[in-house]
Symmetry: C2
Amino acid sequence: MNISRTSYPRIVIIGGGFAGVALARKLSKLEVQVVLLDKNNYHNFQPLLYQVSTGGLEPDSIAYPIRKILKDYKNFHFRLAEVLEIEPEKKNVITNIGDLKFDYLVVASGSETNYFGNASIEAHSMAMKTIPQSLNLRSLILENFEEALLTADLNERNALMNFVIVGAGPTGVELAGALAEIKKGILPKDYPDLDTRLAQIHLIQSGDRILKEMSEVASAKAEDFLEELGVNVWKNLRVTGYDGKTVTTNTDVSFETETMVWAAGVKGAGIKGLNSEDLCTRNQRIRVNKFNQLPGYTYIFAIGDIAQMETVEHPKGYPMMAQPAIQQGKQLGDNIKLLLEQQPMVPFAYKDKGAMATIGRNKAVVDLPDYKFQGVFAWFVWMFVHLFFLIGFRNRMVVFVNWVYNYIRFDREARLIIRPYKKKFKVDNN
Amino acid sequence: MNISRTSYPRIVIIGGGFAGVALARKLSKLEVQVVLLDKNNYHNFQPLLYQVSTGGLEPDSIAYPIRKILKDYKNFHFRLAEVLEIEPEKKNVITNIGDLKFDYLVVASGSETNYFGNASIEAHSMAMKTIPQSLNLRSLILENFEEALLTADLNERNALMNFVIVGAGPTGVELAGALAEIKKGILPKDYPDLDTRLAQIHLIQSGDRILKEMSEVASAKAEDFLEELGVNVWKNLRVTGYDGKTVTTNTDVSFETETMVWAAGVKGAGIKGLNSEDLCTRNQRIRVNKFNQLPGYTYIFAIGDIAQMETVEHPKGYPMMAQPAIQQGKQLGDNIKLLLEQQPMVPFAYKDKGAMATIGRNKAVVDLPDYKFQGVFAWFVWMFVHLFFLIGFRNRMVVFVNWVYNYIRFDREARLIIRPYKKKFKVDNN
């Protein structure tokens, strides 16, 4: 890669997510050369992907050009590239657009969907970790309703209008709630010929409560909210397979559906070349010490979802969410400064700011460290916090306009099949 | 198609563009059953597609769900379908989702890009008639800049940063202006390593003036504006071929470019089954009489771009633009009412409301029937008129927010490669 070396040390960051961007902002104040690599040219605000899938927001309002984030920083370079392998000893990364030498490397490659080796689920289910995936799901949901109108076969119509969501973390819960609101607010108006009772939304959880990372009161209240909205919540039920038609479980229960969304697991978006003993086998995260360093290397770091920092409170590492990623990015920025000044680094200390999830209009649950609340106020807090963390004034304005409109009108206007997902609906204008 | 017949006559409309929607609105007041067919589930505001291609607007804000347009109308049905053939005598249309009988048929299928039989141009150039096409062009433009950073070969970098637009109608002119503003406002900030002088924008026109549908003063002023912005305007030059690398012309002049946008012609989006003598050979439009009826049929109509109504003032039919489409849709709505009441229909009379085009910030040209003006005021008029004709309050708000932001900040934030276009940049998260 033809990026000229300067007299400054070169720091290569893999990934422009929450962790990578937080780090880049800190590094902008140092005398370093930074190369940020990402396979997309945008930063993606993952917590709102479910609203893209359900037509509440346009994808462009939750994505932000990485080059724009970096544009005022001196000695920063961005390259649109996929990292293929890391060569730790040679201080080199191999990418699809060439090799790149580094002095310091920060792996912030994030996470991807974890199917736990189940090939049938991976082949037939929908994921919702990226913008294209979320748009595919949006197309599929809408195509299913269109197709349901065409069939006289009740079983087929049933399968088209049934939605099964596996995994009741924030993603699964928020998607289930949004689908329930579509069933109630949009379906009867857009499809007066369809029997909306057929549109069943099933949320399946292998554990004994939903939102298990949150407090028990939040879990219970979120379940109440979901039931109010008509979502069927299944607990202690494990999905074992899906052939594109039938969802099988570890019990007699099964579901006929054309749409299964898999939100039951994530794993580190690993990169070849690291010692296998540094990788956790189950979730492919990279073990790091309290300075986010990889064992055995003083010049390679990992932050965010990909990093597994095992502590007494979090023996399996911090949750794979925005907050630990942002905090580790900031902390590593400070630590790299100390490192360059040959001073001792400061160990990472996670400040738990709480967690929240929204189920529907006026329905959210918020766990702050000292205070837990649910309902209308929680919902406004959820919206405010999400607007605050979105990057970019324009994005905030556009999201705000959409939310106000959707709230007042009980509507979601981005119910557009821009790129058809099913073969049946492919058109020749692409 | 399982749509039950009622006692009302059934009117089938093919196409939910300007003409089809204008007609549907009128028919909503009559005692008729209406089936609207479209291969997309949205109405697309084509005049703003160039802003999608150049990152100024998100696609979702210029598209509007057709079902939402129809939702308050009784006896209206929408089907997401591609019409394959019309059987006029059997009063039947054949679609990819089954057959549909009609009492009255209205063809409002619009237009598509016309390559005039040039296979090399069709194979290698970009079109901008649909939202997916516009998004592909957006991805390609951005990918070209990313790729330009990677090559040390000056010819290759030159070809990546050169843009050739063929056809200087409103689409070509507006796209050229927007690209020139990107060159000036975005390129230097996002790509400080690239020599922006390489980003040449060529607008090629076979005739002797640009915007030939507008007044001579508008043409001249638009050309001045383009030159101010640094666009190279070529007149009396005809493009003869493009192999993906080199644009050849009818003279010695040729251009090396990775991106040629073909905006030099449109033709009717024809449908099989109509008598060939009703079709104009050059542009595939359907000849209609002054009531928009097809020759020989009292129950088949065509409106909008697809319809060629030849008059003394417009011997080649009305221009393929929004205004004739909207006016014909409305008029046909009134005429169908008269027809059902067994009263004589009223011949279509086109009211020319003028034409306008925007070249860049504060730079537009407007021809009203009695008054022609250019510059800042024309630009505000252009924006106001486009906001007014957009369907939907939310779309207007979102477009307005974007325009205000882009104006104040000299910015275009939707410079996102959501679905990569070039093979090189394909990622595995789709």
